[in-house]
Subunit: 338 residues, 2 copies
């Protein structure tokens, strides 16, 4: 198994040498490089030949110094090991690289102070823009106005923001469970200080309230935790240890990770999913389809949202735009009729 790599000497070819080789001025070479500017055909070709011949590659630092920004986009996530954020990173990296932008990844690790520091460090790199998934609604950092920011997944007013219509999307889960005949329902909410989380919870409980007006036997209990696996597991454990008569027949979670934790707990306690308790998640992370059993959930149109974020950052129109998307119910195997 031979390794096919070659060592190269550090090519230190500058625009000046290209200019000399082609017998033109540096300005002309620069204008050939910036495809938009006018250079006549013969000269342009001569320059291009020299560029290829000398293997010239522009120095991004010099360019950045002049232009005041680099072809780089920043992405700040609370935690890259969260499959939902990893998926965002994956799509963003892929789409950005198609357009010639690199991605700087920063993680707030769920800490607002660390987030502020990381954000400031990100800014120092003069990126073209930053896609920010805030760790909570209280943002501690100062937002620059020369660098475009697109807030993902957390609707902040007066900013470029992209998020689900959390309320309506969450209502889909409520509808689904009630249609299946569930009348005792538990909801595992996310943290109180995140708007997204509040909206999901409100959307769910409001829809249940509507349905109650037609069918007053529906009971809803709300529990609150973090968005992660362990929180879902702990809460589900509480829920399922209620006596049979009071125990809910369905659990809706504000995230797939909570739902996965809940299934984990149910299985440990000998409660069968979906026979004895139905579980529905939120996000549709890749894993949802690979679980045993496969997870019923609400899918976010992540691809569309990432494309929109990129557009808010790279597009020429810098008007503020607050987009809302609609979730989609994906029925799999963790929900069933009572």
């Amino acid at each position: 198994m031979g390794h096919e790599y070659t060592m190269i000497k550090t090519s230190k070819v500058t625009i000046k040498e290209v200019a000399k080789d082609a017998g033109v001025s540096v300005g002309t070479v620069s204008r050939v490089l910036a495809k938009t500017a006018e250079v006549k055909q013969p000269l342009r070709e001569r320059v291009n030949r020299s560029i290829i011949k000398l293997k010239y590659k522009p120095n991004l630092a010099a360019r950045a110094l002049r232009a005041n920004h680099v072809n780089v986009i920043g992405l700040m996530v609370p935690d890259i090991t969260n499959p939902y954020f990893a998926q965002v990173a994956n799509l963003l990296e892929s789409e950005a690289s198609k357009k010639g932008y690199a991605l700087i990844l920063a993680s707030s690790h769920g800490d607002v102070n660390h987030e502020a520091r990381q954000f400031s460090a990100l800014l120092d790199h003069s990126p073209k823009g930053i896609v920010l998934i805030p760790t909570s609604d209280t943002i501690k950092m100062e937002l620059p106005k020369n660098i475009r920011i697109s807030i993902l997944d957390r609707p902040l007013a007066e900013m470029n923001a992209i998020a689900l219509d959390q309320g309506k999307s969450s209502a889909l889960a409520a509808d689904h469970l009630v249609e299946l005949g569930h009348r005792k329902i538990a909801y595992i909410a996310g943290p109180h200080d995140i708007q997204t989380s509040i909206e999901r919870e409100a959307g769910f409980s409001n829809r249940i309230a509507e349905l109650q007006s037609k069918n007053d036997s529906i009971e809803l209990t709300i529990f609150r935790g973090q968005f992660d696996y362990t929180s879902g597991e702990a809460i589900a454990r509480d829920i399922l240890s209620l006596v049979q008569s009071k125990r809910p027949t369905a659990i809706a979670a504000a995230s797939d990770q909570q739902a996965i934790g809940a299934i984990r707990a149910a299985t440990d306690m000998g409660v069968s999913v979906p026979n004895e308790v139905s579980v529905i998640g939120f996000d549709d992370i890749v894993l949802a389809e690979l679980l045993v059993p496969r997870l019923t959930t609400i899918r976010q149109p992540v691809y569309d949202m990432v494309i929109e974020a990129l557009d808010q950052i790279l597009g020429r129109d810098d008007s503020i735009c607050n987009q809302r998307y609609m979730g989609e119910l994906i029925v799999r195997s963790t929900t069933a009729a009572v």
Copy 2:
């Protein structure tokens, strides 16, 4: 819920203004900034006061132009949604940021040509170094010698490389299954063109061969696929559709994702894990502990490996170093005695 952010005007404070404010030369300010150089106490303080007063922040692009490199580390992974690579990214980002380095994330999406292009783009950003998890053993790109490269998870000779002793670690899985009494064993291997994959397979089958010399009733069948979920699922489906008498009682996989896919398949086919078939994975991704049932696997010391990679890039010693680590057997609930 008030949003606590403030808009700031683009502070365009340069070293020159700091110098003027403090009444010193730009050179002096620069030397105050570079903590190492000698500037006498009173002056140094005066400069520092001005820096704080004017909120001066150095321009990284200008610095990069002079110094020929940026405080940035590149990371190239085959796929960031793979939980193992996400964990590497998470740790690397975290450790690098402690040392003042940002992380540029690039993904090869499993394509060697794309990998080469992305690598070259990474190089253009003049990072201090690059941590590379190659998508296969045949590297198509030219490796620079002025930028340090640390190859993770794929041992390439004559390069800084960090990897598990795949063979010995894999043998742990073989030992475990045989100790549990399994005599008909299937192995789901990874792709043929990755050294890592070959070594894991060889380590497993060699250990089985050793054990056969004492106990000739052990049978091993090897199947080959990709490292991902779906490949594991498809192969497991083949394995488990064998007639009862020929069907293996244990499946060892070359990755946790394959193992998860295999459990998925078993469950779909009504084969109980671990009662009717044991499954063991490799990597110990975060998810392994959250699955139902929890996955028995071989853990990689990812943290140690990431620290070592950073050291190979940032450390002062630029001798080539080819480190091997040992995996650890983590027994959970997907393996049981026959």
